[in-house]
Amino acid sequence: MSVFEYVRATDVGEAVAAVSTDPSASYLAGGTTQLDLMLKDGVVSPDRLVDITRLPLRGATRSDGAIRVGALTTMEELAADPTVIERLPLVREALLAGASVQLRNMATIGGNLLQRTRCRYFRDPTVAACNKRRRGSGCAAISGAARMHAILGASEHCIALHASDLCVTLVALDAVVHTQGTNGARSIPLTEFYRIPGDTPDVENVLEHGELITAVEVPLLPADARSGYLKVRDRSSYEFALTSAAVALILADGVIREARVGLGGVGTIPWRARGAEEVLRGAPAHLETFRAAAEAALEGAWTVPGTAFKVELGKRTLVRVLQTVAGVEP
């Protein structure tokens, strides 16, 4: 366990300055990823930890057509929010499908966006080949045992999965990330927030060093939308997804007017399945449409022997949740 300086920030500007000016500094919020990687696995070792948990970035407020969620709102708090329950039920489903109550009482929404992969090779510093830990060192996962890994946005450089359930719904809903950096505030659509690994898997998102997520804004679903989140996993609770799908539909006379689709358990980043949405939009809400959408959703999958099953499972997961949400029985 490496040594670090502990600093407790009292306002946002002070926190941003404390991390931005020190290349080896990191933020500490809920800690459920950061401390795990620092204290237990020894994967990251910042010299300075800036505790932001006392900053006034907690709680959610509803405005016209959206909910603005402070970055330090916990997963349990957001799941219990009346607006989320009423207008974003798939967000609540995804939140409650993740982790345990204890972890959800600690983990923050901003932290959920920035959670690090659970790839075993990334989390084991004795494994030399990990492009995410050290660019150009290779990828042990592609030739090793890999099961809980990504197949979309994946390549020979990296197949590490972004394991969030919440973010799968947020990318489908066009959430916007609000940040504060030394150059001021900016807003970034979540669909443009993450970077496909390519040959730089160490670069996971568009944030500058020290840029702090202050809030996540989520547009509310129209009142006539139907939605759902389905998570398929090895045990029925407290487990990461093998595959998952978030779906929101607006139907009229058996025709899909509007569709949003996010996929989990399969992407190196939370995956927005725009190809599937195009298939669904304007098409009749029946099984053939759903199957065609699933084909489009998993197009371009890059697999290794251990992850090949996820192509078919991912399709079936999407078809099933589309059937459920559309009210079309199998």
Binding site: Y6, G31, T32, L35, D36, D51, Q102
Partner: protein, 162 residues
């Protein structure tokens, strides 16, 4: 280890008593409770936030104390298994766990009971299915789950904890 790392002053409220501590910033809440405060009821199982043996209540909400720095608990109130009994009377959940034989080796038990205290306060013990789902962050390697569920159900049906 470096002697130059400044210690952090932490005031930790534990079971209603304030403890003024000076700690290495790397010390987790779990280690502070066990080593600095001297309460060993919270157990170190996986030490990675996966097993729930270290569950305590922080300002009334359940958390895993192994994934939190003690410094982050400054000024906050922690409840451990040692703080549940009142005047020598066990908490109803403690009594129910004994009555239902809801443990074997006992290592996960304090975490199970604190999680269950929280479960009842959250109103999530309405059915066996609900109890299982919202207790899933507490693993029991001995497999006492059926008896744990029975113990919690009994207390829930009797009107919950005090």
């Amino acid at each position: 280890m470096s002697a130059t790392i400044p210690e952090v002053a932490v005031t930790l409220g534990v079971n209603g008593v304030d403890h003024q501590l000076r700690l290495d910033p790397r010390v987790t809440l779990l280690d502070a409770l066990r080593d600095a405060v001297g309460l060993t009821g919270a157990k170190k199982g996986c030490d990675q936030g996966a097993c729930g043996a270290c569950t305590v209540l922080l300002d009334g909400k359940r958390v895993v104390s192994c994934l939190m720095l003690a410094a982050q608990g400054d000024g906050r109130q922690v409840t451990t298994i040692e703080g549940l009994s009142q005047g020598g009377d066990l908490h109803p959940l403690q009594e129910a766990f004994i009555r239902h034989d809801a443990f074997q080796c006992g290592y996960c038990t304090s975490g199970q009971i604190l999680s269950a205290v929280s479960l009842l306060a959250e109103g999530r013990a309405g059915s066996d299915e609900e109890i299982r789902e919202f207790m899933s962050g507490n693993l029991c390697r001995c497999g006492a789950y059926p008896n744990i569920v029975a113990a919690i159900r009994e207390v829930a049906e009797a009107g919950g904890s005090r």
